[in-house]
Symmetry: C2
Subunit: 152 residues, 2 copies
DNA sequence: CCGAGTGCTTACGTTAACGTCAACAACCTG
DNA sequence: CAGGTTGTTGACGTTAACGTAAGCACTCGG
């Protein structure tokens, strides 16, 4: 409830190995709005550190954002994406419970993605069929024109 | 504004070669609601014939509905799908204007789909990476357990 | 010290894609 | 012919995924 201080944050490409990025940098990089990034945070998909009241994103956060956008591009809801991000998240920082369960979950997610891929291939095949018909028709028209030319 | 007559319509699998289907049949077949099908009609994605006030769908309508659902499954909006359906539609019933233009449009649509496919493959690769890490970790745990067993 | 620039929060608005509900019509059945 | 099933058309509600706008905080350049 207390906005307090500010500070650009931007590329802290200094001695520290953990480079940080500001929200506008990320927005520009991925071509999305600030509002969208904050929205993803509200949804729990991102959890940047706060520095002087401003959001500071790590490379890891950027990867997550990339996954979010890819997920959207292939038709996943933010809820589904959150699901996948949880798999992608911290596994091994000490407890690492149920490795088998996690691997199973990942397999399931991969299977679903594969299903979508097959859907796409089916649609491409359908379109290719139509394309073939059109090409044949065009060829037929060309032949007809040739014939007309020969008749005159 | 006049609902008028009705009639089940259902499978007119009689002498006529153009089998017709009722809305409930389609809904059941594709596992969607009646409301959804009517909604697609409102959006211009479907245009079934009317028989006694009731909707009558042909095989062609079913194919279109299949494309709609596939499109949704891979993350296309209804507007985009309408776009593709227009390509899929009646080409050649007499006029067939701008064949080249149509073929170009189809190529563009296929390219977009291919882009989505690549996104999926990238995500699958990411997940596979995580999966590999988890498997290694599991193996390490197994070795540690073995060592403990040997020590006792 | 003042205004521009950047960021934060809160809150209301918007669009897409349906769901839900009401009221009515036609049909078949007992 | 009363009642149930199946269908139709509105009209309004809902959810997801943001957009837009208002108002305050802080910092920097002049």
């Amino acid at each position: 409830m207390n906005p307090s201080r500010r500070q650009p944050v931007h590329a802290a490409t200094s001695s520290s190995g953990d480079e940080l990025y500001g929200i506008t940098e990320l927005a520009a990089e991925y071509g999305i709005s600030l509002r969208t990034i904050r929205f993803y945070e509200d949804k729990g998909l991102l959890a940047p550190r706060r520095i002087n009241g401003g959001r500071a994103y790590t490379r890891r956060d950027r990867v997550r954002l990339g996954l979010i956008l890819r997920g959207k591009a292939v038709g996943m809801s933010l809820a589904e994406i959150e699901h996948i991000l949880s798999l992608y998240g911290e596994h091994g920082e000490g407890h690492a419970r149920q490795l088998d369960y996690l691997i199973g979950r990942i397999d399931a997610a991969m299977a679903e993605l594969d299903q979508r891929r097959r859907h796409i291939e089916t649609m491409v095949a359908e379109l290719d069929k139509v394309r073939g018909e059109l090409k044949r028709e065009r060829a037929a028209r060309a032949r007809a024109a040739k014939k007309r030319a020969g008749a005159t």
